[in-house]
């Protein structure tokens, strides 16, 4: 076995620090995060779960157009954001609303896309959170570009780039990992392997031993982590962020998790997976696992847990309030942002639309 392979090959088994009963097991390379970090993650997890479930309800009430829930994947969601510093960037996908909110974007801003008001609702530069990407794997290249620019200027920025298992099959995934590796830029690629790309199981995406094994083809570090173990995700992803910041280059991390709900509300997952398969994952719920652990080690009593639940409830209430406030969309917005300066033809097209609207107003009101 080559020396390079030895350092670069991922574990045979995903790194895990808390077992299903919340008991810590020791690991040579990764430490359980400290109490504060773990408690913070638990808070974020509880909020994340509440947000997922609230959004799911909002779809049914017609307040959101669509919601791809990360229910069951919240450990990945919160860890991806919590390991970042202010100057770092997050590149999320459509499923990563909880990661986006964990990074400080308000629910009202984060859900603009899914409510259908606009294509994205927050200022990426302010939060250092890219717009949630819909075309799969495309954002990974942007992440690499952001990291490359930072590296050229000597800034300590690290970029966290998220994608799903399905997205790893796209050409852009390959090009992104390769550019990152060749230019040795500070990016952490975190793949949430939730076993499905809509209806297509992982076995149709890859024949590899694991998705993390792809790292070796780029000459970067690959690692696998139990994506339902927030302690492990924090530790493994945090380590990759530290290495990236230290100039050790990019990493690829595969987090093994599961999409507990249908792809979106529009999907019918009974068509492609059995209920027992889904049920089996309930026992591995990331939230329950860390809660059990925190209770066991005395970091979480009922009172604190109630307080955390209340805070999450408060977030959900804000979210509901925001979603129940109808925003009157402004048709001129269609022409406002296409270019920095509105060219004459768009001004003419807007005038045409404005005239139409004014005439209709004349008729309708």
């Amino acid at each position: 076995m080559t020396a390079i392979a030895e350092t670069l090959l991922p574990r045979e088994q995903p790194v895990s620090l808390l077992d299903a009963d919340g008991v810590v097991h020791a690991d040579d390379a990764y430490e359980r995060p400290d109490d504060e970090a773990l408690l913070g993650a638990y808070r974020a997890l509880v909020t994340g779960r509440r947000v997922n479930d609230q959004c799911y309800a909002l779809v049914r009430q017609g307040r959101l157009a669509v919601y791809p829930s990360s229910h069951g994947q919240e450990a990945c969601q919160v860890a991806a954001s919590l390991v970042l510093s202010d100057q770092d960037w997050l590149f999320p996908t459509y499923r990563d609303s909880v990661a986006v909110m964990t990074r400080g974007v308000s629910p009202a801003e984060a859900l603009v896309l899914l409510r259908g008001d606009w294509h994205s609702g927050y200022d990426p530069q302010r939060y250092r959170v890219a717009p949630q990407a819909t075309p799969l794997a495309t954002q990974l290249l942007h992440a690499v570009g952001v990291a490359h620019a930072a590296k050229l200027r000597g800034e300590p920025t690290v970029v966290m780039a998220l994608c799903g298992d399905g997205a790893t099959s796209e050409g852009d995934f390959h090009e992104a990992l390769n550019f990152a590796a060749v230019f040795r830029v500070p990016v952490v690629f975190l793949v949430q392997n939730n076993e499905f790309a809509i209806s297509v199981p992982l076995s149709r995406q890859t024949a590899a031993a694991s998705l993390a094994h792809k790292a070796i083809g780029y000459g970067i570090r690959g690692q696998r982590v139990d994506g339902n173990d927030v302690a492990a995700v924090l530790s493994v992803v945090g380590d990759a962020v530290d290495r990236a910041r230290a100039g050790e280059g990019p990493s690829l991390i595969e987090a093994h998790t599961y999409r507990m709900q249908a792809h979106t509300n529009a999907d019918d997952d009974t068509r492609y997976r059995g209920r027992d398969e889904v049920a089996a994952w309930v026992a591995r719920d990331p939230l329950v696992r860390v809660r059990t652990h925190l209770q066991a080690v005395g970091l979480l009593d009922e009172e604190l847990d109630a307080e955390i639940a209340d805070a999450a409830e408060e977030t959900a209430a804000q979210l509901r309030a925001a979603m129940n406030t109808e925003v009157e969309p402004d048709p001129e917005d269609l022409f406002r942002y296409v270019f920095a300066e509105r060219p004459p033809h768009l001004e003419r097209q807007w005038q045409q639309l404005r005239d139409e609207l004014e005439r209709n107003e004349g008729i309708e009101r």
């Binding site: 157009a65 099959s169 209806s199 297509v200 269609l334």
Partner: protein
């Protein structure tokens, strides 16, 4: 035999039936697969799920995993391997999940599917069908509502088809699968659930437009979702005393000049209606062609009612972006009637 098989087989007994466009497409795929073993269907989520629009529903169950199957999530891979399949005797029908998700396959479509027959002096033809659910009007978020036809229609070597009725959806898809060259088959998402009569014994040729409504004063030229808007506008205009003819182009390229020019020459006025952004679009081509070849018949400039030259609107704003009956009527009104 599963329930599904029974349904499909029973259905093929009655040649005329009312069904949605999605069902008509599904039937066309099933009938083509039954008729020819070399017809394969593959793409993202077309197997167990039956496609996000259910157009491939039941095909895997009926024809097995080797005839209809899911691929890794990679559009260039889907089109590229389809080309190879076609080089080796198959007739693949591939699904791009949504319009904008076909862009990663652009290279394969433009540099290979469109050109391989020409490159090899016809020794290798590429009988593939690339199905692209396209267009807006369904409240879809960004990347789910692009009208991408201009990219394909501009590319020499591609045949681009777009039905506006379940009957045409059935007949044109059968024709596309039988076609010896690559066909980009555009499916107007908004029309998937609209119903109409389908006679599965009826054949349609690629390359023929149709007059969807007779009229004498002005010709509306359109395709896909816009045909319905044109027809609605025609009905309103009629109530205002104008006789409006509607041409459904059906095949964007090759363009049926004969039918289109004949139509415009009888009325002397033309409006093109299409949802895509107008600049350098299929609507531009139709306007340029009509302007050039019907010049001496035209009583007024050829007008276009198209999407604006901006990215497709978010759901809450799409009604402002999309051509509608009023906009078509405005265009008709502007056609120098004072001279008539």
């Amino acid at each position: 035999m599963t329930m599904l098989d029974m349904r499909v087989e029973a259905a093929t007994i009655a040649p005329i039936e009312t069904m949605t466009m999605a069902a008509a497409l599904n039937r066309a795929l099933a009938d083509a697969m039954a008729a020819d073993d070399s017809v394969l269907v593959f793409g993202e989520d077309v197997g167990a799920l039956g496609g996000v629009f259910r157009v491939t529903d039941g095909l895997t169950a009926r024809f097995g995993e080797t005839r209809c199957f899911d691929t890794p999530l990679a559009e260039s891979g889907i089109v590229g391997t389809a080309i190879g399949m076609a080089m080796n005797g198959m007739r693949p029908v591939v699904e791009m999940q949504f319009d904008a998700f076909a862009y990663p396959a652009f290279e394969q479509v433009v540099s290979h599917a469109a050109k391989l027959g020409n490159r090899t002096r016809g020794a290798v033809r590429v009988p593939i069908v690339i199905r692209v659910p396209f267009g807006g009007g369904i409240g879809g978020v960004e990347h789910h509502c692009d009208s991408s036809e201009a990219y394909y229609a501009h590319t020499a070597g591609l045949t681009v088809v777009c039905p506006s009725t379940p009957q045409d959806a059935y007949s044109l898809l059968r024709a596309a699968i039988a076609h010896p060259d690559p066909v980009v088959f555009l499916e107007p998402k908004k029309l998937y659930w609209g119903k109409g009569e389908v006679d599965v014994t009826r054949t349609t040729s690629i390359g023929r437009a149709t007059v969807a409504r007779q009229g004498t004063d002005v010709t509306l030229i359109s395709y896909g979702t816009s045909v319905g808007i044109a027809l609605d506008a025609a009905a309103v205009a009629e109530s205002e005393g104008r006789s409006v003819q509607v041409v459904d182009v059906r095949t964007l390229t090759p363009c049926d000049d004969e039918t289109i020019f004949a139509a415009v020459r009888t009325t002397g006025r033309a409006v093109i209606v299409a949802e895509a952004s107008g600049f350098a679009s299929v609507a531009s081509e139709l306007a340029a062609r009509v302007g050039e070849h019907c010049f001496q018949y035209l009583a007024a400039p050829v007008r276009r009612v198209t999407g604006f030259d901006v990215p497709f609107a978010p759901p809450k704003l799409e009604r402002y972006f999309l051509p509608d009956v009023d906009r078509v009527l405005d265009a008709i009104d502007s056609l120098n009637w004072e001279d008539a």
